[in-house]
């Protein structure tokens, strides 16, 4: 019987149990951050337990960290969470990319960047966007705090094997269309729950031609379609990316030989297959309060079809029939684990060069990690943003969820490269509009969204 990549990785990690029941599977890597780990360490302490494999865990601070004056955290609980992670990792011997360290950044940006994320692995983190790491041909998913504690203590987790879904993505991406538009397009088309109960794999010529950073953007938002995880088969692009990174295997050629086995045999191995053609894809912009409420930039917002639509329109302050060009942008957030990587900053800087952001717009640029920030500064990208009137910040999750002081003011429309446009996500009554980095930076220049295929690129 043919098998998916997912089946092959899963089977290699089962310690006990049979398919259909919860199975005990081994976890190769757990990533930790300050918000969902304190109670897990506290639980270990209460029960006098140790971390079974400290070397298979890696922690950083990202959700709460300030993006200016990073050592001066005003919010008492934020500071406490950060100090607690510092203390816990020391006490339990877990590696930490702490405040101000060169390795610090959003947990889903630094895992790949440090070479911790590798093909064939099972990776967990107390965070739903762990799916990002699936881009390397691994099984990666988010877990709750009790499970974080369980993995710390046993390096394993009980899981029931999910069904598998293949999403065949094919065609040549038109100019001005990016990975973000593909995943937003799929979610807009299939709905925010299409992936519920499935482990998703993306494949096809469009995917094969993508860089690792683009692949991460797609896998990252799998959770927005309800899937627990998203993944992409490892190939030469993957191997080249991992090679030479700080924590990459030393015997890299042997590792690559081993990783090559993680391939889906053929489409018949999936429980379900979806087809997605990108040849005529347009840039997407979200109008509502979930990522499925998105339309191509040149299409009007939909009629009110149900109570959810009504509620979303009321919250966001827009009308059916309007288009994204009519959204008055007051705030721009550039960053997050979806689109806060170097390639995203490069694309934005290219468009921004020689321009200034529109009057009345506040634009926050928050690199996904310190390494991204350092690299961008080497390339002079920070200067382009600064001279265009943007605020160039220290790395972190920032206004993606507004746990630190970076919040979008109430009632203000924000063009955002992040992944969630839920009510209150970026600040109380903030109005989030998701789009690709190119679309967001163009919106910053014009003060409203534009069709970048016509007006910019």
């Amino acid at each position: 019987m043919s098998q998916t990549m997912f089946d092959k990785i899963w089977d290699k990690h089962v310690i006990t149990g049979k398919v259909g029941d919860p199975q005990l599977i081994y976890v190769d890597l757990q990533l930790l951050h300050e918000v969902t780990s304190p109670q897990a360490f506290e639980g270990l302490r209460e029960n006098s337990r140790k971390v079974r494999c400290p070397e298979r865990n890696f922690a950083t601070m990202d959700h709460n960290v300030p993006t200016v004056d990073i050592f001066n955290i005003k919010d008492e609980i934020s500071r406490k969470q950060i100090e607690t992670l510092d203390k816990n990792t020391k006490e339990f011997g877990v590696r930490l990319a702490g405040m101000g360290s060169d390795d610090q950044g959003i947990v889903h940006v630094i895992g790949p960047q440090l070479g911790l994320t590798q093909p064939g692995m099972i990776i967990v983190c107390g965070d739903s966007h762990t799916a990002t790491h699936g881009a390397f041909g691994s099984i990666a998913f988010g877990i709750g705090t009790s499970e974080v504690e369980h993995v710390l203590a046993t390096q394993t987790i009980w899981q029931t094997k999910p069904k598998t879904m293949g999403i065949h993505i094919h065609g040549k991406l038109p100019k001005g269309i990016f990975a973000k538009d593909i995943i937003m397009g799929i979610i807009a088309h299939e709905g925010v729950a299409f992936g519920t109960g499935y482990a998703v794999e993306y494949y096809g010529d469009t995917i094969s031609n993508m860089s690792m950073e683009e692949r991460m953007t797609i896998c990252n938002m799998s959770i927005e379609g309800g899937a627990k995880m998203g993944s992409i088969q490892p190939d030469q692009t993957t191997f080249d990316y991992v090679k030479g990174r700080k924590y990459a295997p030393k015997k890299i050629d042997e590792a690559i030989e081993y990783w090559k086995q993680f391939k889906t045999d053929d489409e018949s191995a999936f429980d379900k297959v979806i087809d997605f053609d990108v040849n005529n894809l347009a840039p997407f912009v979200s109008w509502g309060t979930n990522p499925g409420m998105s339309v191509p930039v040149d299409k009007p917002f939909p009629e009110i079809r149900n109570a959810d639509d009504k509620k979303a329109y009321d919250y966001i302050g827009l009308q059916p029939g309007q288009t994204a060009k009519q959204i008055p942008i007051g705030y721009v957030f550039f960053g997050s684990c979806t689109n806060g990587r170097l390639s995203d900053l490069k694309i934005a800087a290219q468009i921004l060069k020689g321009h200034h952001i529109a009057k009345g717009v506040t634009a926050l640029v928050v690199p996904g990690s310190r390494e991204v920030r350092i690299q961008a500064e080497k390339l002079g990208i920070d200067q382009i943003f600064k001279s265009a009137g943007c605020d160039w910040r220290e790395p972190g999750c920032s206004a993606c969820l507004g746990m630190n002081p970076d919040q979008v003011p109430a009632g203000v429309h924000c063009a955002s490269t992040s992944n969630r446009n839920f009510e209150g996500r970026q600040g109380a009554n903030a109005r989030t509009h998701l789009a690709s980095p190119a679309m967001v930076v163009a919106a910053a220049i014009y003060g409203h969204f534009v069709d970048i295929r016509k007006e910019v690129i």
């Binding site: 304190p38 109670q39 009980w158």
Partner: protein, 194 residues
């Protein structure tokens, strides 16, 4: 976790359906680093008036019920977000047992992970328990799967796996540690490319 066999204590009735995790513990109280300390904000919006004063109309604030550790409630208890804090708050407040018509899946799973015994009884039986006076004890006997009070005896169902966990005071980690040998054997087979 502490083993749970027989719990004898007074009850507090809150016969409402669909009590969700936002009502159990509103989101402003989730920012914390401990599993303890949430009890004072359990049922926050019902327990306190806008000005932070106690709402004396709410049953939890009635001194008669101060020491009750068995909550009698409605259907679909613990629905809404997956926050484990809801269970932490109930436990921290002092609840040992919840008797509801049904539970949301995630809440139920979280209760099993944290040693909060959540059992299910039909409405007619819960209504009888809800009428019991505030100073009268009832007994929840887990090994025999019985709830007993002066005039009644009700049987309840529980998955043998969860029963085993509670009666022996095992948490998930303790159960997994029984597989320590298998885990160690597995670890030897992991390829090492360093």
């Amino acid at each position: 976790m502490k083993p749970i066999t027989t719990i004898t204590n007074t009850t507090i009735p809150l016969m409402k359906d669909n009590i969700d995790t936002d009502q159990l513990i509103p989101k402003q109280f989730l920012k914390n680093i401990l599993k303890t300390g949430y009890g004072r904000n359990l049922f926050y919006d019902w327990r306190y008036l806008g000005n932070g004063r106690l709402n004396t109309d709410f049953i939890l604030n009635d001194p008669k019920y101060k020491n009750a550790s068995i909550l009698i409630t409605g259907d679909n208890f613990g629905c809404g977000s997956s926050r484990e804090h809801a269970v932490w708050a109930l436990k921290d407040y002092g609840f040992e047992v919840i008797i509801a018509g049904s539970y949301s899946d995630i809440f139920y799973m979280n209760s099993t992970k944290n040693g909060l015994l959540a059992i299910t009884l039909p409405k007619s039986q819960r209504e009888i328990l809800a009428r019991i006076s505030s100073d009268e004890n009832i007994t929840v006997d887990l090994p025999n799967q019985e709830v007993r009070c002066i005039n009644y005896k009700f049987n309840f169902e529980i998955d043998p796996l969860w029963k085993h966990k509670f009666v022996n005071g095992l948490d998930d980690i303790a159960i997994t540690m029984e597989y320590d040998k298998e885990i160690s054997q597995y670890e030897v087979t992991i390829p090492n490319f360093n």
